[in-house]
Amino acid sequence: MATSDVTVDNDLRNAERALQHHFADMEQQQETSTFGMWMFLLTEIMFFGGLFTAYLVYRSSYYQAFVEGSQKMNIWLGATNTAVLICSSLTMALGVRAAQTGRRKLMVVLLLITILFGLGFLGIKGIEYHEHWTHHEFPGPDFHFETIDKTPPVDPTHTEIYFSLYWAMTGLHALHMVIGVGLVSWLVIAGWMGAFTPSYFTPVEIIGLYWHFVDLVWIYLFPLLYLISKKHGG
């Protein structure tokens, strides 16, 4: 059809380059991508959902064992990590805003801080994992657990289930964090080279959605695994 290339500014030309052939316009492309990411996050909820179901079933069956297991958690490290992730969500959201308003350098700086927070989280998680590993709190033949309160005695194998779920859930979450750090790193490089403009910043937006989702999973994991009531634990 009629293409008018009269005084198209840089920004618009950039957007045209980003428009894939099978979309009518940028608006459709942007809406489609965002919708796709929301659908993907829905599958992620179901993916973690299987583990949460298993957690709920065994927590109600072996409550005492879960209480004792959770007392092996380092609440301070866990709480710090929660704070770190919430801060990273803030910098991510500000980064998306910076992309939207076209402040390239600010966006890159904010995303770099987000990456630092993400790596900080993984580092602290690594310290925790190391502690559990050295204390034989890893399921398998080396697993060892002394019950604190002998009355009623807690079956160590039930605590082992707690730790199985702990490793599976936080491990899967950490894997998502690693992927997230990788994605944001790509955003930093692409953003620095000027790939995003106020009329095209969809990747920043949808990777932001992913980042917030991964944070949100942790917001559930932290109380479920670290903060099980001590009231009945003795």
């Binding site: 052939h21 459709q28 179901m46 959902g49 065994y58 069956s61 082992e160």
Partner: protein
């Protein structure tokens, strides 16, 4: 310009001849080419799964377990099930036919995420190769259901490899479903409202919902099985306090809805074909469309009917039994509406329609016997017998494979630009119908008489019916080999297909056969209702006699 005249003289540029070479296929993002890649891969899987089925039937020719050992037999039926369910039935109609026609049906140039679509094929191939590798290096003997603690503790076969293969392939299914949902929401042509959407899109949309919501659960479940086997984590091991029933709940939470992933797209194919070859608008369009959604939703709340004898509470069983009955309602809505569509229609008996007839009859039998199995008392009697085997083969093979064959014949001219030989195709449809019933009807009787599934030997009084079943399987095999041959033959020698050989309505018939890379020269604008056959010129179906 004039598409029709151009076709007669020179071959116009289309998605097949726009560029050549292996790279142009392996790196394509064109939904039509990806559909062809899927077609080739799942055909290979179909023959591998079919080979295992033939071995099973040969073993059961005689009462003694004489052809293979019981261990080998366990592996044969496990690998038959795994391949046919996860690597053939689930991708069959969506990934091949859906991939090819859905973007055209909605008037789009491609699916919403073309690169994700290609990625899904690579993931499928990776998963299939992993599973095949596990099978070649020793096989797996847990059945396709991987029940714990057998799969996690006692089986000495390659459970981890097979589970990882299915885990990987699950993501290809998730991505396909996600792509369909987003495409149907966001990529429809102007004027193509939800009420004008072809029923094939509706049913694939419903199936895609299940793929997106169900598949992640089986993925995490099989991951836990693999972890349990590798690290002995105890989640499903009763010796460590784990609960094997939890595995069954998680497994069937996906695997029962997965049955509807398999059948819903097939129902969509049948809706398209019945209306086209009856020259009538689908009776009760809205009901057929919403029945797909109802099946998808209800399908998520019936899973425990697989566990009636596994030790769940009687009250839970009662609720699940009742809910399972409810699925019969939308299924019946579809069957009745197809029949009502044909009533007073001017029916032509082309091959796709013959397969559709087969589908309606056999799916009805499969569905009604499902009601037997949903009732608590009867299920205790026929649980784990050949009655169950016959039931789900009537739905999966009599239903879904029939629909897949119907769809392949219906859209073959569109996909390849060639007509298949009608006489041979009719013969093969007949062979499939006769062969199928001879194979599986005796199994209903066998199961009711008490022959359990998954044994390689049986009492001599069951032999007559087993011989009948094996004989039927041979006819069925011929019925499947024939289309393979004449489809390949038609690629070179088939008659050139016009853009709309069936005189069908629908956007995919308004473009050339085979379609150009971007499907349409201009984005179509839809101003008519779906399946408006009554207001179409009443032309005879002239091609393909």
């Amino acid at each position: 310009m004039e598409m029709a005249t151009a076709l007669q003289t020179v071959e116009t540029e289309n998605y097949l001849n726009s560029n050549y070479g292996i790279k142009s296929w392996l790196l394509t993002t064109d939904h039509k080419r990806i559909a062809m890649l899927y077609l080739m891969s799942i055909t290979v899987m179909f023959w591998i799964g079919g080979f295992f089925a033939m071995m099973i039937r040969l073993e059961l020719l005689t009462p003694a377990g004489d052809l293979v050992t019981s261990d080998t037999y366990n592996k044969l039926f496990s690998m038959h099930g795994i391949i046919m369910v996860f690597f053939f039935l689930i991708p069959s109609v969506p990934a091949v036919i859906g991939n090819f026609v859905i973007p055209m049906m909605v008037g789009a140039k491609d699916l919403a995420f073309p690169r994700v679509n290609l990625l899904s094929w690579y993931i499928y191939m990776l998963g299939a190769c992993t599973a095949l590798f596990a099978m070649v290096t020793g096989g797996v003997d847990t059945g396709w259901t991987f029940y714990t603690p057998f799969s996690t503790t006692y089986s000495n076969t390659h459970v981890i490899g097979a589970a990882i293969g299915i885990f990987i392939t699950g993501f290809s299914s998730i991505l396909t479903g996600l792509n369909f949902i987003v495409t149907i929401h966001r990529m429809r042509a102007p004027g193509l409202t939800w009420r004008r959407l072809p029923l094939f899109c509706w049913s694939n949309y419903a199936a895609a919902l299940i793929m997106v919501l169900g598949t992640p659960v089986i993925a995490i479940t099989l991951l836990l099985v693999a972890l349990e086997r590798a690290f002995n984590i105890g989640v499903f091991n009763p010796q460590l306090g784990g609960d094997p029933l939890l595995f069954q709940h998680l497994f069937w939470f996906y695997s029962h809805p997965a049955v509807y992933i398999m059948i819903l797209p097939g129902m969509g194919v049948i809706s398209e074909i019945v209306t086209c070859f009856s020259r009538k608008r689908v009776f009760g369009y809205e009901f057929v469309a919403l029945a797909s959604i109802a099946i998808a939703v209800l399908g998520f709340v019936v899973w425990a009917h697989h566990m009636f004898v596994a030790g769940i509470s009687v009250y839970a069983a009662l609720v699940f039994s009742l809910l399972s009955y409810l699925v019969a309602i939308p299924s019946a809505v579809k069957v009745f509406n197809w029949t009502a569509t044909m009533y007073k229609g001017s029916i032509s008996y082309n091959t796709p329609m013959l397969y559709a007839f087969g589908f309606i009859g056999l799916f009805t039998i499969g569905g009604l016997t499902g009601i037997f199995l949903a009732s608590l008392g009867l299920d205790v009697h026929v649980h784990d017998t050949y009655f169950v085997v016959a039931h789900f083969h009537y739905v999966m093979v009599g239903g879904m494979v029939m629909a897949y064959m119907a769809g392949l014949h219906f859209w073959w001219p569109k996909m390849t630009g060639r007509m298949y030989p009608e006489a041979w195709a009719k013969l093969s449809a007949l062979l499939v119908f006769v062969g199928f019933n001879t194979t599986f009807f005796p199994q209903f009787i066998l199961g009711y008489m008490g022959m359990p599934r998954r044994y390689h030997a049986y009492p001599p009084e069951f032999q007559v019916l087993n011989v009948l079943s094996t004989a039927g399987a041979s006819i069925l095999a011929v019925g499947y080999v024939l289309p393979m041959i004449y489809f390949l033959w038609s690629l070179r020698y088939g008659e050139q297909a016009p853009p709309n050989p069936w005189n069908a309505v629908g956007l995919e018939w308004m473009t050339a056969s085979p379609p150009p890379t971007h499907n349409f020269d201009e984005t179509p604008i839809v101003t008519w209702e779906a399946y408006d056959y009554e207001h179409q010129p009443q032309e005879e179906v002239t091609v393909g006699h």
